[in-house]
């Protein structure tokens, strides 16, 4: 055990470094969920809020294959209601601001989906 002192010192430095981010954030405000702007003229999304929050990306992925590859462009939701499968014609018709809705969470989560390289978002009111 004649290296004991060095090992313990090393461990302490290592732990301090690893936990650095926690020390930095100590005392700063807790994470708040971003405040997204909800559609004004529509109460319900195509599926429940919780489902959309967690799964909208999977759903959009399924939508694109159904519409484009299988030619199935009508979505029957879990309650039996019909919707047109289209990002532009359905989703973005209610969510009229990409900045105040989509971007809010994407920026927080640090993700940059490239949907809008092709799909045209509604014009932002200046």
């Amino acid at each position: 055990m004649h290296y004991g002192g060095k090992i313990i010192a090393g461990l302490v430095i290592f732990l301090a470094l690893v936990s650095l981010p926690f020390w930095f954030n100590l005392g700063s405000a807790a994470y708040k969920q971003p405040q997204v702007e909800l559609p004004k003229n529509e109460k319900n999304c195509i599926e429940s809020k919780e489902y959309m929050r967690a799964h909208h990306m999977q759903l959009l992925n399924e939508w694109r294959d159904w519409a484009l590859r299988d030619g199935e462009r009508t979505y029957i939701n879990s309650k039996g209601k019909e919707f047109t499968i289209s990002l532009q014609k359905t989703c973005l018709r209610c969510h009229t601001s990409k900045e105040k809705f989509c971007d809010k969470c994407h920026q927080d989560a640090g993700v940059t989906p490239y949907c809008w390289d092709c799909h045209v978002p509604p014009k932002e009111a200046k």
């Binding site: 489902y51 799964h55 939508w63 159904w66 484009l68 590859r69 979505y75 939701n77 879990s78 532009q88």
Partner: protein
């Protein structure tokens, strides 16, 4: 409980089955949600187009159709050889190079011919696409899935009709962004695009843009249905197709 090989396998099986179930359970809690084909969808076993070049043969006429098509599909006009085209015009010898004769009728030599993707029966573009971004639908429309296109341009090399265009730059730089068709997406840099026989219109029960705009010079219908409008005109008039010797079996016919 005694650990035995038999027990182990039993539980391994159950947990494996559980693994298979998880994604499905995640997909939608109730599991009832599903897609269907639009009720109004126009269906066919093999879509085809017949263009009457006796009626439709000037640059202006074809440009009018191309403008309508390009506007609907947000196709940019780029004033260089990097332009994108879904529908364009060409001379007889450019359109039917191996069916050219000496001393042709002057009127024929002056005619312009509307060209577009032929939605071939045996499309070489589909055969070479490594990602299946370009694929043939059950109704024989050769469609593009821009999400999958990696821009390798094999399809451009394979298409003997020059029907495909490559987006060398962001097309939005050359689109009037205030005047986009919000019902159709644009493309991004680095993908190949072409005419899609207006699948998005057929899905809603409407005919392709150029067909509706052509004032009867273009007919569209199911080639396998003897009573369809395309078969009716094919019965009446002599037609040719582009480069038939290649065996791609184009779905676009020209009345000369």
């Amino acid at each position: 409980m005694k650990q035995s090989r038999r027990n182990f396998l039993k539980f391994a099986g159950i947990s494996a089955a559980g693994l298979c179930l998880t994604p499905a359970a995640g997909a939608l809690a109730s599991g009832k949600a599903h897609p269907i084909v639009n009720k109004a969808h126009l269906k066919a076993k093999r879509w085809a187009m017949v263009i009457d070049t006796r009626k439709l043969n000037t640059k202006e006429q074809i440009e009018k159709l191309a403008d309508a098509c390009h506007h609907w599909h947000n196709v940019p006009k780029i004033p260089t050889n990097q332009d994108i085209k879904w529908l364009w015009d060409a001379s007889y010898s450019e359109s039917f190079p191996e069916q050219e004769n000496n001393h042709m009728a002057e009127e024929l030599e002056e005619r312009r011919f509307p060209l577009l993707c032929n939605h071939c029966e045996h499309p070489p573009c589909v055969r070479v696409c490594p990602t299946k971004a370009t694929f043939q639908r059950a109704d024989h429309i050769v469609a593009m899935d821009y999400h999958r296109c990696i821009g390798c341009r094999y399809c451009m090399a394979a298409c003997p009709f020059g029907a495909r265009s490559f987006n060398f730059m962001d097309p939005r730089l050359h689109l009037d962004m205030d005047n986009l068709n919000m019902k159709f997406p644009t493309r991004m840099r680095g993908v190949v695009e072409k005419c899609n026989f207006c699948v998005e219109k057929l899905a809603e029960g409407e005919l392709p843009v150029c067909v509706t705009k052509s004032e009867g010079a273009i007919v569209f219908g199911d080639l396998t249905d003897p009573n369809s409008p395309v078969r009716e005109v094919l019965r009446k008039d002599f037609t040719i197709r582009r480069k038939p010797e290649l065996g791609t079996e184009p779905g676009v016919y020209y009345i000369i």
